[in-house]
Every structure is written in structure tokens, then in C-alpha cells.
């Protein structure tokens, strides 16, 4: 009987996607790491540094950087792209840690996952309500192309995509400067050095 159950279990594991099975565990463990940092006994600087480390390991910063450039990506030279990605990473890490540092003890429950295709699985979660704010639904777009190295590409908060907002913001800056990418680079570096 035991053997039968074991075979059944192995069989059922085999039929569902191993990648998507791990995507929710990946999100939950990332969230737990961030929560430990946010509630731990650290100075603000230590907290920010730890959050940046977590982001570097779990977020596809390069992919988000490319995505945020939209169609402008195609008009850049190789050197410009490398330069952009460097500036973007610094901007992203600062903006990310600054946004997160506002939450003192976020409690996130991972609810379900859905595989979109071989490259993406969406993990659905809930930021549990507190006295001062209602429950918030958060979806995580997990890039599963390399099953050994899952990465987060987008957060969709109450139906609003952070990556899409950032892409439209970047596009607005580039367009209001006659398509000049340098204006965006300057804005990004100014933000990082604030």
C-alpha cells in the first residue's frame, strides 16, 4: 500500500510541471527572507543593503531593464545598452529597497500559481490586512526559463503592473526629450545619487 502511494505521488509530481511547482515555493521563500530583514534588529543602512542582496539574487534586474526601455531598446548601440543596464541596476536597487523599507512587517501568503508558458509562471499572493490598510493582492511574474535559477520579473499589485508603469514612465521621459536616451540616464543617475 505504502509503495503504491509512493508511486502515485511520484507519478503526480511528474505530470505537473516541476518548474511551476517550485515557483510558489520560490516566491514564499523570497518573501520570508525579505520579511526577516524588515522585522530584524538592523540599522536602516544594514536593512537596505540586505534587501539589495536579496533583490540581486531573486529579481531579473537586467530583464526588467530591457523591458522598461520598450521599443527604444532597439535603437541603442551595444555600449549605450551596457551603460544603461549599469545605471538601471543602481536605480532599481535603490528604488526597490526604498519602497520596501516602508513596510515594517509584511505578512504575505502565497495562494496559488498558474503556468503561463515554459518561460513564465504567475504566483498569486495576498498581503494580509492590518489595522491601517486593507488586504492587497499581489501577483508575481516568475521567469522560469532556467529552472535552476528562477527570477522575479514583475509585481502586479491589485491588477497594476509595476514593470508596465515603469516602462511608461521611462517612455514619457525619453519622448519629452526628443527621443534622447541620455535624458533618461541622467534622471536615473540623479535618483540613485539622491
Amino acid at each position: 500500500m505504502k509503495r503504491f502511494l509512493l508511486i502515485l505521488l511520484l507519478f503526480s509530481l511528474n505530470t505537473t510541471s516541476v518548474y511551476s511547482l517550485e515557483a510558489d515555493v520560490f516566491v514564499q521563500s523570497t518573501v520570508n527572507r525579505a520579511a526577516e530583514t524588515l522585522s530584524g534588529n538592523f540599522t536602516k543602512e544594514q536593512r537596505v543593503e540586505k534587501l539589495k542582496e536579496i533583490a540581486k539574487e531573486t529579481v531579473d534586474i537586467k530583464g526588467i531593464g530591457y523591458y522598461s526601455l520598450g521599443t527604444h531598446r532597439k535603437s541603442l548601440s551595444k555600449d549605450q545598452l551596457i551603460n544603461y543596464l549599469n545605471v538601471f541596476e543602481e536605480y532599481f536597487l535603490k528604488s526597490f529597497s526604498s519602497r520596501l523599507a516602508e513596510y515594517s512587517n509584511p505578512e504575505i501568503e502565497v495562494n496559488s500559481k498558474k503556468k503561463l508558458n515554459d518561460n513564465y509562471t504567475i504566483v498569486s499572493s495576498t498581503l494580509v490586512a492590518t489595522d491601517s490598510r486593507p488586504e492587497v493582492k499581489i501577483e508575481w511574474r516568475v521567469y522560469t526559463k532556467n529552472p535552476e535559477n528562477l527570477l522575479i520579473r514583475d509585481l502586479i499589485i491589485e491588477g497594476l503592473s509595476l514593470a508596465r508603469t515603469q516602462k511608461e514612465e521611462f517612455s514619457s521621459i525619453i519622448n519629452s526629450n526628443d527621443g534622447n536616451i541620455d535624458a533618461l540616464l541622467k534622471n536615473l543617475s540623479d535618483f540613485s545619487s539622491k
Partner: protein
Amino acid sequence: MYKKFVITLVSLLLLSFNAIAASDGELMLSENEKPKKIKDCFEKLNRATFSFNQGLDKAIIKPIAKGYRKLPDPIQKGTSNAVKNLSTLITIPNNVLQGDIKTAAINTGRLIINTTIGVLGFVDVANKMGFPKYVKEDYGQTLGAWGVGPGCYVVLPVLGPSTIRDTAGSFVNVLGGDPWYNASTHGNNEYLSEGLYLTSKALSGIEFRANNIDSIDNLQKNSLDFYASVKSLYLQDRENKIENQTRGSIEVIYKNEEDWEEIDSQ
């Protein structure tokens, strides 16, 4: 009478402008085609109005919203429930116009219960009785559901982000589409007045601002171009609402699939 005539004229102008704006092809909304991008035809004016609104917010609205947040919780909750209850008066006709008779019936039940047992809507009794979650609908959403394109993005003084279609939709409220407006301004009732209507609208705005103080501050602090961020978030939210998609549903995520597919960082 004169006021009504002016409002009708403005709405018609706005809608016909929308048709002109749509004729460049990019904003056309056919049944199988979704608009790719909503144009910011009046960007300079919009940015100026946005700055004006930010000034107004800083000087008046935000301080009031902060004060509102200090009120005892039951008062805040009651006010929030009451303005939400008034909004069902607009939601119900829009449920009907969108052919969703079942939800219209549920919302009518909700309105009756909350207005009577819930003491003019201050207590959300229907929610406690297990009614389905309330989803607001407005005339802009109905026009969108009927296939009217959004037209250009506009920032209205005081009221904030909108589109030509949604602005025209708001005019329907004062043209007879909002029973609460009709009763308070045209009804011969000694307890109701235009002032009361305006107060309820202002309260609804303050309530929204008070609930979002932290998230708006955070967004502003972390934006390179706050105007562009607000525009993007507003338009995403309207898109979801018009398609009646539950927040965070998978359909919302699928929409951006093409853009993501070509990004290969590994």
C-alpha cells in the same frame, strides 16, 4: 434649464472631439482590436493642470485627508460606507446598461438594506449578510463596455486623471443619470440640497485621499516622472475596470505577454 443645455453641449463637443481624435487610427476601437496606446494629446496643458492639482492637494486636500484619518475609526468607516452606498445609485443603472441584470438586482437589494437597516448607508449590513463584493460601475465604464474608445488622456482641474470618454461619462451623472444628484438638486425636499450633494462628493474624494496617503507619498518619492506614473496607473486601472476583470486576474497579466516574450536576459 440653461445649465443643463450648457452641460449637454459640452458633452456633445467632448464626444465629437473624441471621434475626431479617434480618426487617426491609433485610438479606434473595433470589436476585435484593443487600443494599443492612449494618446496624451494635451500633454502640456495636462502637466500644467497636474501641477495645479498637486499644489491644491498640498495646500488643502492632503491636510484635510490627514485630519480625516485622525477621526475615530467608526466615523471613518461609517462615512466610507455612506458614500459607497450613494454610489450604488450610479452603479445600478450602469449594471443594467451593461446587460448585467443579476448584479443590478443584487445591488438594488444592497441599496435597500443598507439605506434602511443600515441607517442611510452608514452600516454595511448587506456585507455582513454575505452579499457578493461590491464593484462600482460608472457611465464611462459603460461607454467603454459599449465599445467607445477612451480618446485622449486628460487631467481635470481638482478631479484629476480622466479620459475624454470618462469625462463625458461623468457629465451623464448631472444630466439625470445620478438619482442622488436629481433628488438633491431638483427634488422638492427640504432636507436635500445641492450643497449636500457637493459635500457628499467632496467627502468621497477626501476618503479616497485619506486611504491612499502613504501609497501616493511612496509613489511620488520613487517616481522619476510622477505625472507619467499616475497616468499609467490610472489608465491600467480603468482598463481593468472596463473589462470587468477582477483585480489580479490572470487575463490582466496575459495582456502584456507579447512585450515580455521577446526579453531574453539569460
